[in-house]
Subunit: 395 residues, 2 copies
């Protein structure tokens, strides 16, 4: 077997945009650059390249076009008070992309530090596009997909050729959050289309989990609340993990979200971070970073049947509900349509507190362990560089 | 609302390949042409075009790349004894493509006769590539996918822009059949990766059903036998519908395949055709077209638990097993690995009889209702034509 080249941040091909190309800072739109790194089974990772955002070309029988061999991540770049750019726990996204890639027979090995170096350079080039206001950001979409022909029965499950690329977009998710601010989201509980099931792909961030269920969306509702199983357990809402806040029989305020055990829900980075913040607070290991969180709380990971939510709206035990994810961060759920009935979910101040804490940590306003990564400055033209086919190569 | 243009076969843009472009007849490879028909939500179907096979370009955030909004069909073009080209029940594939498209929010309305006209022209251009030998063919891959950006939460589930394209390839599926000829396929029964479930997409021909399960393939086995449910019911094998032949308690020879009721298996064209052939034969409506099929048979559509197959190999009630689909037509299953045990499945002459009947009907050697469509001759250069941007427009 030939040696497969590892993913390397250097040398980097850099192809600058023309001086006439300009997008006004803060304007809704795409980042101007994209990062591309090709891969082949025989030679491994190829030349990393940052170049102007452009269309991608594929053979008509490429795996991604025929058999949905594509996975992605959602990440955000924030600009802090000092004007520095920050990423939130990027290695968790990189690790999840490896896991998704492995599930599809795509490349799943690289040094996260090398990839982070490339992300940093891409994002640094977009510095003037990253909004500084609280809650705003440059959304980052890393995508890993099969470019090689995939068509007949293959000898094994692995792609011959793949591409990892990264594009950016200003403020994805902010519009959804704004539409719900103060009043919360309306969800339609859906048992007609089942998003995920044990042995399926619900816990991987595959394109296939998203396009196949978008037809479920009902007019007047922000998104679907996904149900599964004989008891209509809730799993996710839209592309968010979902939580209920419940007063338990022992008087403790429970934050309940679905367990990862049966592989139905995505292991969200925001979900994991909220669990840690709440558990540290409950155990006394660390105070909740913003004042106001009750002390007597508990995190529970288990199935949540719709009957429990319905019952909770009647007996008053349901104290709130929210979704979380990279796009919206944390957003209140105000109303659920289920079997032609509408159920009102009470508001809870802990939801805003969680959101404010998460956005403050993301923007570096609250320090929390090493969750926030500051992107170093990069002078694209400064390093050893020379022209190759009209492109700069930065060593 | 603006009027959406219907899909029209005429006028057709035709861009001929250069005379120097040549693929030897019968050589394994791709057809030289592709058919493309763009669609937009505001204007409907756009200009149909037959042009040299080429890469397709997409925005990095196109729905097909991000969220797997792609579906396809598998069809075959046969060359009969007289040298005419034939399609097998093409309207069933066109109708299924509409159904798949609708499931993904893609365009799902067109006049099949218009589409068949375009298919016929595309295939006629490849006449010299279509092999004439029994069991050989030009495989056709129609694909329908979302080209527009699909990224944030949309107002509804429908694509803004889509593309229907068709490419061809010589002899797909023939290799798999040849590898199994005389000895049958070895299958690995898989309960780790679950292909489909009620409320999912198993009964639609979506790319997402294929790329997400290819990692299940075990070395030494032709493909996976998909299991589901608490009783390890068999659903499909690889991309084929699956059948068992069983001696029932009343002495009747049963041909059993999974029911379509729970939406887990694909409603295969080959599956439907075999059901009709067998049921007509059993009921006395029409004799089986090739001699040798027993008279005392019955078609049963129901769940098949693995335990029944295991038991049948022991008590002798299992008389055979086969897969069917456009690629392989009909192929014997010889062995199944299940829970670390190997089970030998007996051969049955009815399997070869079904295959020979299907291929004979497909190639027009046996007439059966209107199942075989003869492609009319098309002189691409003959109709009213003029140059537009160097391309021929054929009215």
């Amino acid at each position: 077997m030939t040696t497969q080249a590892p993913l390397k941040a250097s040398p980097l091909y850099f192809s600058p945009i023309s001086p006439s190309h300009n997008v006004a800072p803060g304007k809704e739109g795409y980042g101007r650059y994209m990062l591309t790194i090709p891969w082949s089974r025989t030679s491994g990772w190829g030349q990393a390249k940052i170049s102007p955002r452009a269309d991608l070309s594929f053979d008509p029988l490429a795996g991604v076009l025929q058999y949905a061999t594509t996975c992605f991540e959602g990440m955000k770049c924030y600009k802090d008070e000092a004007g520095d750019l920050r990423l939130f726990r990027p290695n968790l996204n990189f690790d999840r992309l490896k896991r998704s890639g492995a599930r599809l027979g795509l490349p799943a090995e690289w040094d996260n530090a090398e990839l982070l170096d490339l992300f940093s350079k891409l994002l640094y080039l977009e510095t003037d596009l990253v909004p500084q206001a609280d809650g705003q950001n440059l959304y980052i979409r890393p995508t890993l997909l099969e470019t090689s022909e995939s068509f007949g029965i293959k000898e094994d499950a692995f792609a011959s050729e793949a591409l990892l690329y990264v594009v950016t977009s200003v403020n994805l998710g902010a519009g959804l959050y704004a539409s719900a601010e103060g009043k919360g989201l309306r969800l339609d509980a859906c048992s007609e289309f089942i998003r995920a099931w044990p042995g399926g792909t619900g816990s991987y961030k595959l394109g296939a989990n998203y396009g196949t269920v978008s037809v479920a969306k009902k007019p007047g509702f922000a998104m679907s609340l996904w149900l599964h199983g004989a008891e209509d357990f809730v799993s996710e809402a839209g592309a968010m993990n979902i939580w209920i806040i419940k007063e338990a029989k022992d008087g403790v305020l429970e934050f309940v979200t679905m367990s990862l055990d049966n592989g139905i829900v995505l292991p969200g980075v925001t979900r994991a971070s909220i669990i840690q913040l709440l558990e540290d607070h409950a155990s006394g290991k660390a105070e909740f970073p913003l004042p106001g969180m009750p002390k007597n709380i508990r995190v529970v990971q288990r199935d949540i049947p719709m009957a429990e939510i319905v019952e909770g709206t009647k007996d008053g035990s349901l104290k709130g509900m929210f979704g979380c994810g990279t796009g919206v961060v944390v957003v209140q759920v105000a109303e659920i349509q289920y079997k032609n009935e509408l159920y009102q979910i009470p508001a809870n101040p802990a939801i805003k507190l969680l959101r404010d804490t998460m956005t403050a940590v993301q923007r570096g306003a609250i320090a929390h362990e090493d969750w926030s990564y500051v992107i170093p400055a990069w002078e694209a033209g400064s390093a050893q560089e020379h022209d190759v086919d009209g492109q700069k190569v930065v060593a």
